[in-house]
């Protein structure tokens, strides 16, 4: 049970114009808004922050959304206009980064996207193809039975390759060959 939950209708008791984003935004024109951010991004402190963020491998998209969210919070622009001016803002930051020869990543590329291939699709759907591709050579029975065995490989099932008793004794630290008793 939530004792500190708001009472139904409590929202109607507060002033709706308390927050900046509740009021009409300061900038409503596309060019005007870009000009405002252009000036802001050229501010030395803001530039330092932008370059520092690029320095820690932050994507330009992340920087842009941070700046825009801040502007929305302050009631400078509406959410819709913020989305519309994101492109020009990214371009300004890109040019700034290029001018000081900073390595940057835009962040619009889908690097984590999994490329859908026929093999992946087959595996996902659980489709097992009966067709054998032409480039696969059929192995003879001898080749199949003669599987390569490494030092640590598991012995084949049913194989009778058991080490002789002397080898086993040597492996256990005993004498490799039976010692003949000395004649007295």
């Amino acid at each position: 049970m939530q004792l500190e939950a708001p009472i139904p209708g409590e929202n109607f008791t507060s002033d709706t114009k308390n927050m900046p984003w509740h009021r009409p935004p300061d900038l409503t024109d596309y060019d005007e808004a870009i000009e405002y951010f252009f000036d802001r991004l050229e501010d030395p402190e803001q530039m330092e922050m932008t370059f520092a963020m690029i320095g820690i491998n932050a994507h330009i998209t992340t920087i842009v959304s941070t700046i825009l969210l801040q502007a929305i919070r302050l009631g400078k622009v509406s959410i819709d206009l913020a989305i519309l001016i994101a492109g020009p803002l990214a371009r300004i930051i890109e040019i700034q980064a290029k001018s000081v020869e900073l390595k940057y990543e835009m962040g619009v590329e889908d690097k984590d996207r999994i490329i859908i291939t026929p093999t992946l699709l087959r595996a996902t759907l659980g489709v097992v193809s009966d067709e054998i591709p032409d480039d696969v050579e059929e192995l003879s029975e001898e080749e199949i039975t003669e599987s390569p065995q490494g030092l640590m490989s598991m012995p084949l099932m049913g194989s009778s390759d058991v080490a002789p008793a002397e080898e086993q004794a040597a492996m256990l630290g005993g004498p490799s060959e039976p010692v003949e008793e000395e004649e007295v």
Binding site: T61, T62, L68, I83, G87, R91, K98
Partner: protein, 66 residues
């Protein structure tokens, strides 16, 4: 789609040369800060033509040659 995704999509479209056409239709004049504006700005600042400018010039040359 969250805010970050919308921003990414908007940037992607702007870099592809698309402009908010519906917004432009509400205005009498073209946008000042268009993609071409930023191309020229970059060219001026970096003293080298940008990729989009190179592509545009190549396209214009092709048209002129034909």
């Amino acid at each position: 789609m969250n805010f970050e995704d919308a921003i990414k999509k908007s940037i992607k479209l702007f870099l592809a040369g698309k402009q908010p056409e519906a917004l432009r239709a509400t205005k009498d004049t073209d946008f000042t800060y268009s993609a071409e504006y930023f191309d020229l700005l970059e060219e001026d600042l970096l003293d080298e033509p940008t990729e989009s400018t190179k592509a545009r010039l190549a396209k214009e040359e092709k048209i002129n040659a034909a």
